[in-house]
Symmetry: none
Subunit: 269 residues, 2 copies
DNA sequence: AAAAGCATTGCATAATCTGGAAAATAACCT
DNA sequence: AGGTTATTTTCCAGATTATGCAATGCTTTT
């Protein structure tokens, strides 16, 4: 069971690194900080091993120890790494650059989100002289069913990555029916909602996620027609969500401009 | 030879992992894809070593190979990892959770604000036993020039969203010079004030906004170095605002803890 | 077409990681 | 507070595992 065993799992790489990355993956799956022993149990590794891996990750900034309690969590380096990786994709840069314009032209708060494994994650945030949400910041994850942003992902993102969160939110919605007042949490109703959103070209909510606020969201599509990111406008005037309103027009134009990057396949050289 | 050597670089972790993470750091610093040999040269490692590390990273999804030509770049897994980390560094929520501690430790009233459309907006409010305060509540907006909170935004928030309010307050201050006793409302003086605040690390006022009260405020910074939120301590004793006072120390530690500690995955050698 | 560059893979050596257990630390309960 | 449990962290010998050199395929250049 040793040397030339290419049976499985053999990546041609380094075993200890593979193990370390499994550990990192386990940390990623968790919602928050985890203790050493929890991680050790979850990865089926001896605690001493996990500890040494964590020490190296910590040294690199990928992991940090939350406030003296000895719990470990993903650190700033992980954010930096992710943003670097994100910056490799043109559409993110172009969208980020253009977002301020959208904000000033529409006079509304604009934000840009991408799909992470915890849901729709806000990566850019452009505040306008219009109603601003107070309890949200960069890095906030938005709900899939009850936010305009989430619904845009629901309608245009590939279904597979969404499924886990979609099901979780459906369960949650069944228990607290008050939350989603315009949505019966059944698969059928969701399909119908998706169809409506697609036909409209944008998603919207009125005061559902945050009372008193309305929002519209549209996708930035890649060459396969899947949402790579979602741009959202937030305001207070219910007029906003009306089809054909100035904000809707601007938002859709913005997203269309940024969709399917005009790159040629001939980047082979 | 290298056994008990704690002399340098020894993290208590795993050497091969440290090397691998140095490699990852090198990839991060590059703007785009890099060839194996380039990375090998840059990290001072033999190409074969780099190749095997990359194989493991690739297997984990952190790295991918661009179009068969053998160039390596950060992959989708890196984005996912970063977004997970981002979601945990939701500044506003973390700060909200920690605010009660700041309050009890300092024995002062603590509040947390973000920049809203109408100015610095109070979103959380933790009362101390002792003194208290006026008719302020959640959602109150604080002045930009005459409150410690506002001045912290002035010094650390991106200038664009502040401009409208700054100009309005400057106009107003010129008409009612009595209000801002320590500030001549000219652009030059404001620049000077900002500089002082930045150097100090916190902003303060003594009885300016509310007679008889003193306050100190420091920013919670995001990864762009911009203020995502501001934490403020309010008391009656003028000692508070002195540099080096216990309250100042606590407040700055609090904000530093919650701010995004910038960077650097790789340190040389 | 030949050559040069580059990524990829074997292989023996020894350096490195491993994992159990002890030491240090923190948390917990009475 | 004291005593006790449950963590996290460090230590150590052994052997698995990473390492670097050199050889092999590929692709690209002249």
């Amino acid at each position: 069971m040793a040397r030339g065993d290419k049976g499985e799992g053999q990546t041609g790489g380094i075993q200890s690194l593979d193990a370390a990355l499994r550990l990192l993956g386990a940390m990623m799956e968790r919602r928050g900080p985890a203790s050493l022993s929890e991680l050790a149990r979850e990865c089926r590794m001896p605690p001493s091993k996990v500890h040494r891996y964590l020490a190296s990750f910590q040294h690199a900034g990928l992991v940090e120890q939350a406030g003296r309690s000895g719990k470990y969590d993903l650190g700033p380096g992980a954010v930096t790494l992710g943003l670097s990786a994100l910056a490799r994709h043109d559409f993110v840069n172009r969208a980020s650059d253009a977002l301020p314009d959208l904000c000033t032209e529409s006079g509304l708060t604009a934000l840009l989100s991408v799909w992470g494994n915890q849901g729709a994650t806000v990566i850019r945030w452009e505040r306008a002289a219009s109603p601003t949400v107070t309890s949200m910041g960069l890095g906030t994850t938005l709900p899939l069913l009850n936010s305009a942003t989430g619904r845009a992902f629901l309608a245009w993102a590939p279904p597979a990555p969404l499924r886990a969160i979609r099901e979780a939110e459906m369960r949650h919605a069944r228990k607290n029916p008050a939350i989603a007042s315009d949505l019966v949490p059944t698969q059928r109703d969701i399909d119908k909602l998706v169809e409506t959103i697609r036909a409209q070209g944008y998603a919207s909510v009125e005061g559902r996620f945050i009372p008193g606020l309305v929002a519209i969201a549209a996708p930035i599509l890649d060459w396969q027609g899947e949402a790579q990111a979602v741009a959202t406008l937030i305001g207070t005037d219910p007029i906003l969500v009306q089809p054909g309103s100035e904000a809707v027009t601007r938002l859709i134009a913005f997203c269309k401009e940024l969709s399917f990057a005009p790159m040629t396949m001939a980047d082979a050289k």
